[in-house]
């Protein structure tokens, strides 16, 4: 559901305007070779990203990967060591934060505790020197947008976490920024509320039409909310793409491992054709149904997602008999309601995870501890990782 809603956001600007406008929109926010060093520690290392107008873009990575530093440079709280940040063609790297057309929703919100909800939302508008009636109009509009009109007179501490989050959103949108930054927008909420709020937040951001860069360490949050995701590690961008692209075709072992679960088989390319490759690993021989940029004899890893593995009692026959199948013993299993996770121990000692959706459970046979089973997968289930 969220996929489709964020999908429209990404395609909307492309549909609007002529070719020139589209090209400019595709580089609405341009980050070029951005570097930030703290006392010779490189926090952000030559990062370049083009962000489209109107899209929600997520920087995803574990803590200390540089994503927050990158966001703080966009907001203006950190000065880049080198590189450029172009917003709508204008270099903003040297502009102080209070003069940038950018607003940020802070992690755990940073609402002013001494001001009412109304005054919190009005804070930025008053600093912009707007006349009183315009300030009032805009604050009312924003509070209506986040459905908090009846709480206007309350102080932040009198609100629940979810309400505070909406005040923070209203405050950051009040000045109609060209760019909205979200720093772990839902990190302070509990899980149930977080799931509901994710879609709510996307809905509001899209209704306003603001370009948005968010930082998160929660992959589910990034995949739900963002139209595109950049995976960061050690200050670098490893891969940029739509959520499905990153999940289905990770470009390196780190990304494959970071997003979801993955089984990795290490081996060598023994046959490299245009439409397929064959990889030999100690466990089995893999027939991969797509070509790779590599050579025969190259060391690679074959990545297979747990949900793409089938478990059967008999060795399955098929088009590529003898490929893509291993014999294993069920070492452990965990029934999680909608699916079951099996830990399969192979003869080489490698543990393979397989998750079987409950809809595929057979009525007459369920693998259990100690069972000898066959794990198999088809030729399109795999990704060959060269890095």
């Amino acid at each position: 559901m969220s996929e489709s809603s964020s999908g429209t956001a990404a395609s909307a600007p492309a549909a609007a305007g002529g070719a020139n406008k589209t090209a400019a929109d595709a580089r609405f926010l341009r980050i070029e070779n951005l570097v930030k060093e703290f006392d010779s520690v490189v926090a952000v290392d030559k990062v370049s990203i083009d962000i489209r107008k109107g899209e929600i873009f997520a920087l995803l990575g574990s803590s200390g990967c540089g994503k927050s530093t990158l966001l703080r440079m966009l907001a203006g709280f950190e000065t880049p060591t080198s590189g450029r940040i172009l917003l709508d063609g204008r270099d903003i790297a040297q502009i102080p934060p209070y003069e940038r057309p950018i607003n940020m929703m802070f992690q755990s919100y940073a609402l002013f505790p001494h001001l009412s909800v109304w005054d919190n939302v009005a804070f930025g508008l008053r600093r912009a020197g707007l006349p009183k009636d315009q300030v009032a109009d805009q604050v009312e509009k924003m509070l209506g947008l986040v459905q908090l009109k009846q709480f206007a007179k309350r102080k932040p501490h009198q609100l629940s976490g979810g309400q505070q989050q909406r005040v923070a959103l209203a405050r950051s949108l009040a000045k109609r920024p060209q760019l909205l930054l979200l720093d772990e927008p839902l990190g302070a909420l509990d899980k149930k509320l977080r799931e509901r709020t994710q879609l709510e937040l996307v809905g509001i951001i899209e209704s306003v039409g603001v370009t948005c860069v968010m930082v998160t360490h929660d992959q589910e949050e990034a995949m739900t909310m963002a139209s595109r995701i950049a995976i960061m590690s050690e200050g670098r961008i490893l891969q940029i793409g739509a959520p499905a692209e990153i999940y289905e075709t990770p470009n390196c072992r780190f990304v494959a491992d970071f997003i979801g679960n993955v089984n990795l088989f290490k081996g060598k390319v023994v046959e490299d054709a245009a439409d397929h490759v064959i990889v030999d690993t100690p466990e089995c021989r893999h027939y991969v149904g797509h070509g790779i940029t590599g050579t025969e004899g190259m060391e690679v890893s074959v990545a297979i997602r747990p949900e793409k593995i089938r478990i059967t009692r008999e060795r399955p026959g098929g088009a590529h008999d003898g490929f893509n199948c291993v014999e294993a013993e069920v070492a452990d299993l965990a029934y999680l309601g909608s699916y079951t996770i099996y830990h399969l121990k192979l003869a080489t000692g490698l543990l393979v995870k397989a998750s079987i959706a409950s809809v595929e459970r057979l009525p007459d046979w369920q693998p259990t501890w100690g069972d000898k089973v066959f794990a198999s997968w088809d030729e399109y289930a795999m990704v060959v990782l060269t890095q």
Partner: protein, 306 residues
């Protein structure tokens, strides 16, 4: 009252003792002496020992209680003698100026101390508290030596050729203010620091993000959020300053009227205990009580917030 009893006598006797000891101390050495002062303030002066007449006497089997209000009336009898009124106003004025100077000097000090690297904060804090290692009296005397006509300060100024003749600084309002601000500055800095060090830096970033210039951030975020520290520091400076005796005595001059000195004169020079007691009672009722109420109200509105 029930609340107080419940607090004084909880189920846990150990807790009662711990809470009770300071209460007992305050009753014995603050409340009782105050009641004695109150009693003396409504007595008539007596030449002899004790220097005040008793409040009660038996005459023809009648117990006569004689509450004499002359001491209080004369304090407010401005037409006859406005010394007391002027002294109260002047004490308030000096205390207010001291508070303002301490705030103006102390706030930036506390602010940068709170913003300093955590590793050097304890050292800075120690520097603020360092004067307490020397006797208060000695420090005030030292100022006397610095500010006197042949003192260090004048000699330096003459040596630098800035002035030809030594300036008369000691026993003026100037020297009084120097002494008061110097002595009370730490009492302003410490509560301000304790408050500012808790100030969430992200609130300042949020303000900057929303378009507030550094100056606006200070007035719209830092100052309102350090209000409780400003109030606490101002109380700690203002209240003792009003009744300050030693500094005006040593550094003040004849024109620097302060209530502490008047009280001293009444007690020791005029031997008029009842009037001295009345001066003290009025000081407490007029100045300390309203401030205490204000402080309590402030504390409550602060408590609501957190």
């Amino acid at each position: 009252m029930n609340k107080l009893l419940a607090r004084l006598m909880p189920n846990n006797p150990g807790r009662a003792v711990v809470i009770g000891v300071p209460y007992l101390w305050l009753v014995l050495f603050f409340l009782l002496p105050f009641l004695i002062v109150l009693k003396i303030s409504v007595s008539e002066m007596n030449v002899g020992q004790p220097p005040f007449k008793p409040l009660t006497e038996m005459v023809d089997n009648f117990l006569n209680i004689r509450v004499y209000l002359g001491n209080f009336i004369s304090l407010f009898d401005v037409a006859n003698d406005d010394l007391y009124a002027r002294t109260y106003l002047s004490s308030l004025k000096y205390a207010a100026w001291t508070t303002i100077f301490c705030l103006v000097i102390g706030f930036p000090f506390a602010y940068f101390m709170a913003r300093a690297r955590p590793t050097i904060r304890p050292a800075l804090l120690m520097l603020v508290m360092m004067p307490f290692w020397t006797s208060f009296l000695l420090r005030v005397y030292a100022w006397k030596a610095i500010l006197t006509t042949n003192g260090v300060f004048n000699q330096i100024l003459i040596g630098l050729g800035i002035i030809g003749e030594p300036l008369h600084m000691l026993h003026t309002p100037f020297s009084l203010m120097i002494g008061m601000v110097y002595v009370y500055l730490p009492f302003m800095i410490l509560p301000l620091y304790a408050n500012l060090v808790k100030l969430d830096g992200r609130l300042l970033e949020a303000a900057a993000d929303l378009g507030a210039t550094p100056w606006q951030r200070f007035w719209l975020v830092t100052v309102p959020l350090s209000k409780s520290g400003i109030i606490a520091g101002s109380m700690l400076v203002f209240i003792p300053c009003v009744g300050e005796f030693v500094i005006p005595e040593l550094l003040g001059g004849p024109e620097t009227l302060m209530i502490g000195r008047v009280l001293w004169d009444e007690l020791f020079s005029n031997n008029d205990w009842p009037r001295a007691a009345a001066v003290a009672v009025v000081t407490i009722l007029l100045i300390i009580v309203p401030l205490a109420i204000f402080n309590k109200y402030q504390a409550e509105s602060q408590g609501e917030r957190t």
